[in-house]
């Protein structure tokens, strides 16, 4: 019933905007790739591209839920803290409580899902502003994470946990394979599946969505839980790679993801965004840093350049949408 309820005209106009968003960042990233390939010998080597993708593949997991939330018009600033929390909690269970790998991972991810669901419930039930609530949960969860850091006294994680991020399929790290598969799968689902299309409806106009019979409250709670889950999985893997509880993990990640998602065509007002766009946005940010390292430019300039690009991208987007 709800499938037919989605009106065709809105689908058409939405697709136009949405394609434009992710196309821009793809073109810009390709341009950057070509520029770096022609100006540097070391950039377009298998090893270099591979290391960029490997680095991005952890953040990509966290950007999945984040992008979905942006599509329905909410935001989750607690991703960075969850990203830090999940790995540290799991590591704490394994190092200090001697819990085996799988139960520790399960418990940690369960904790993430519960926290995400509570966040979503509060936002939906009391009609709260998601940015305010997630600033609170961000602080709270960061506190929990640093509690585990202190209790581990700088211990290294067990070998079995450190091996997680090094699992290979064929000759490629599992995280990269997962990233590629998920980008394709989720992008197709977002475009084709009616369940996923509903998210755009909720993001564009919540009241209209409700009239068409979409249960937006449930979707929002589920997506907050999903956001915490995907950030949690990414966090466990990055902790496995870093190999000890580093307090710097996930610091500022929320703004990094926001930048990537917005560059990839998402909007803070909801109704726009794509998985491919967010992923390419992350690759773009990583490539800029990579290019700066190759050319021996002060890597500190990265922040400056990212700041300018972010404002310019949103400015362009605002202009374009105005004339549409």
């Amino acid at each position: 019933m709800t499938d037919q309820a989605i009106p065709a005209p809105s689908t058409v106009s939405r697709k136009k905007k949405f394609n434009l968003g992710s196309l821009t960042i793809i073109v810009i990233t390709l341009g950057l790739f070509i520029l770096l390939t022609f100006t540097s010998d070391t950039f377009f080597t298998y090893r270099n591209i591979y290391s960029i993708l490997y680095g991005v593949s952890f953040q990509f997991l966290a950007v999945i839920g984040f992008t979905y939330l942006m599509i329905i018009g909410e935001i989750d600033l607690s991703v960075g803290s969850v990203y830090a929390f999940s790995g540290m909690f799991m590591g704490y269970l394994m190092v200090m409580q001697k819990v085996p790998l799988l139960p520790a991972m399960g418990l940690s991810l369960l904790a993430c899902i519960v926290m995400g669901a509570i966040t979503g419930f509060l936002i939906v039930r009391f009609k709260l502003n998601s940015m305010m609530v997630t600033i609170a949960t961000m602080t709270l969860i960061r506190g929990l994470a640093s509690n585990f850091v202190k209790r581990m006294y700088g211990a290294t994680y067990p070998t079995i946990m450190r091996r997680l991020s090094k699992i290979e399929i064929g000759d490629v790290f599992l995280t990269i394979v997962v990233m590629v598969v998920l980008v394709v799968a989720l992008e197709v689902l977002l475009k084709r599946s009616s369940i996923f299309k509903r998210m755009y409806g909720v993001g564009e106009n919540r009241l209209t969505a409700r009239i068409y019979g979409i249960k937006s409250d449930r979707i929002i709670i589920a997506l907050f839980a999903l956001s915490a889950l995907t950030a949690g999985i990414g966090g466990i893997l990055i902790s496995s790679r870093v190999s000890y509880a580093d307090t710097a993990i996930g610091l500022g990640l929320e703004f990094h993801l926001l930048t990537a998602a917005v560059l990839g065509g998402a909007s803070l007002y909801g109704g726009k965004g794509s998985m491919l766009g967010s992923c390419v946005g992350l690759i773009f940010l990583a490539t800029i840093l990579n290019g700066m390292v190759i050319f021996n430019i002060e890597p500190l300039l990265q922040q400056l350049i990212v700041g300018i690009i972010l404002i310019a991208a949103v400015f362009m987007d605002t202009r374009l949408n105005k004339y549409e």
């Binding site: 009391f126 940015m131 609170a136 602080t139 926001l258 803070l268 400056l304 990212v306 404002i311 400015f315």
Partner: protein
């Protein structure tokens, strides 16, 4: 212009006071203060009182600017980097041979510039305030890092005594900066409550379109608010620099979150249209007192984040619940 009451249709002074948004933070801060005075004898030690003043003052000054923005419905994540930049600019001016007064003016001027840039990006280019100020936060930090290239951990040091005196001098047993904060709180509270500009900010935060339809120049008012926030943040940076005698890359890192959290505890809202300077001040006092309490009781600092996050969550939820029931009573749902 009619003065809009932020809240309250109840009778009695107490009932009215309780309905003010800042009641929670004033109450929390007062309770904590009374508790600490009686429970910890060393709370009133001179060293402790001095450290309280110098941590409340700069952050409190920034919270004033943030609250002005929150009331008008926007916010500024770049305050931390502006704070760092303001201190750096005055430090560099001093090493270039500028007089202390000139250096302070230069630092404040950097705040004007950043605030103006923020205001123009948000209000003229119509970029969302979150994105715009994340952008200028990155840009400000980037500039600070570039300026500090080749300088070690300490950054700039060795300022003239007359400059350091701004951060270290005292008047009537309290630091200059604390007096400055108190004066600013009173002035801004009065401005918001009783001037046309102040009342306009509440209207703009409440409903931007209808404020414009009423003939309020919302764009100009918000740009002014951004400039105020930039100036206050940069000035806080100058004060911190003068107090520590150091301008390095660590000044103000993460300050934006502390300031926003203090403002929300103090009754502000990211949705706009509510809040007061007294609330921002008491929210900041509460935050600083709490971290002081953690020190005095030697509780590991990581518990502080948990508690602050929890309190913030409760404050936001209760506020949401109250306004939801109010709206239900008015028949909006």
């Amino acid at each position: 212009m009619a003065i809009k009451k932020t809240n309250g249709n109840g009778n009695g002074i107490i009932a009215n006071l309780l309905k003010q948004n800042e009641a929670v933070s004033v109450g929390l801060a007062a309770l904590l203060l009374i508790f600490l005075v009686f429970a910890r004898p060393n709370f009133l030690d001179q060293v402790n009182i001095e450290s309280l003043q110098t941590s409340i003052a700069p952050y409190g000054i920034m919270a004033i600017g943030m609250m002005v923005l929150l009331i008008s419905g926007v916010f500024d994540l770049s305050v931390g980097s502006t704070m760092g930049l303001g201190g750096l600019v005055s430090a560099i001016s001093l090493t270039q041979g500028a007089s202390p007064l000139l250096a302070i003016m230069a630092g404040i001027l950097s705040g004007v510039v950043i605030g103006l840039i923020n205001g123009v990006i948000v209000e003229v280019a119509r970029v969302n305030a979150l994105i715009a100020t994340i952008g200028t936060m990155y840009i400000g930090r980037g500039i600070s890092e570039i300026v500090l290239v080749g300088r070690g951990y300490a950054g700039y040091t060795n300022f003239p005594e007359s400059f350091n005196n701004l951060g270290r001098g005292q008047f009537l047993n309290a630091y200059y900066m604390f007096w400055i904060l108190l004066i600013l709180v009173v002035v801004f509270q009065l401005v918001l409550r009783y001037t046309k500009f102040g009342r306009q900010l509440y209207y703009i935060g409440g409903n931007y379109e209808s404020a414009e339809n009423l003939g309020i120049n919302a764009r100009r008012a918000r740009i002014i608010a951004f400039i105020l926030s930039g100036v206050l943040a940069a000035f806080a940076g100058v004060l911190v620099t003068a107090r520590a005698g150091i301008a390095n890359r660590y000044t103000g890192v993460g300050a934006h979150m502390d300031v926003i959290i203090a403002c929300i505890i103090g009754g502000g809202s990211l949705i706009g249209g509510q809040g007061s300077i007294v609330g921002a001040f008491s929210g900041m006092v509460f935050m600083v007192l709490m971290s002081n309490a953690f020190n005095l009781y030697a509780i590991p600092p990581q518990w502080q984040n948990i508690l602050v996050g929890f309190i913030l969550l409760v404050v936001i939820t209760v506020d949401g619940y109250v306004s939801l029931t109010k709206q239900k009573r008015l028949g909006k749902f």
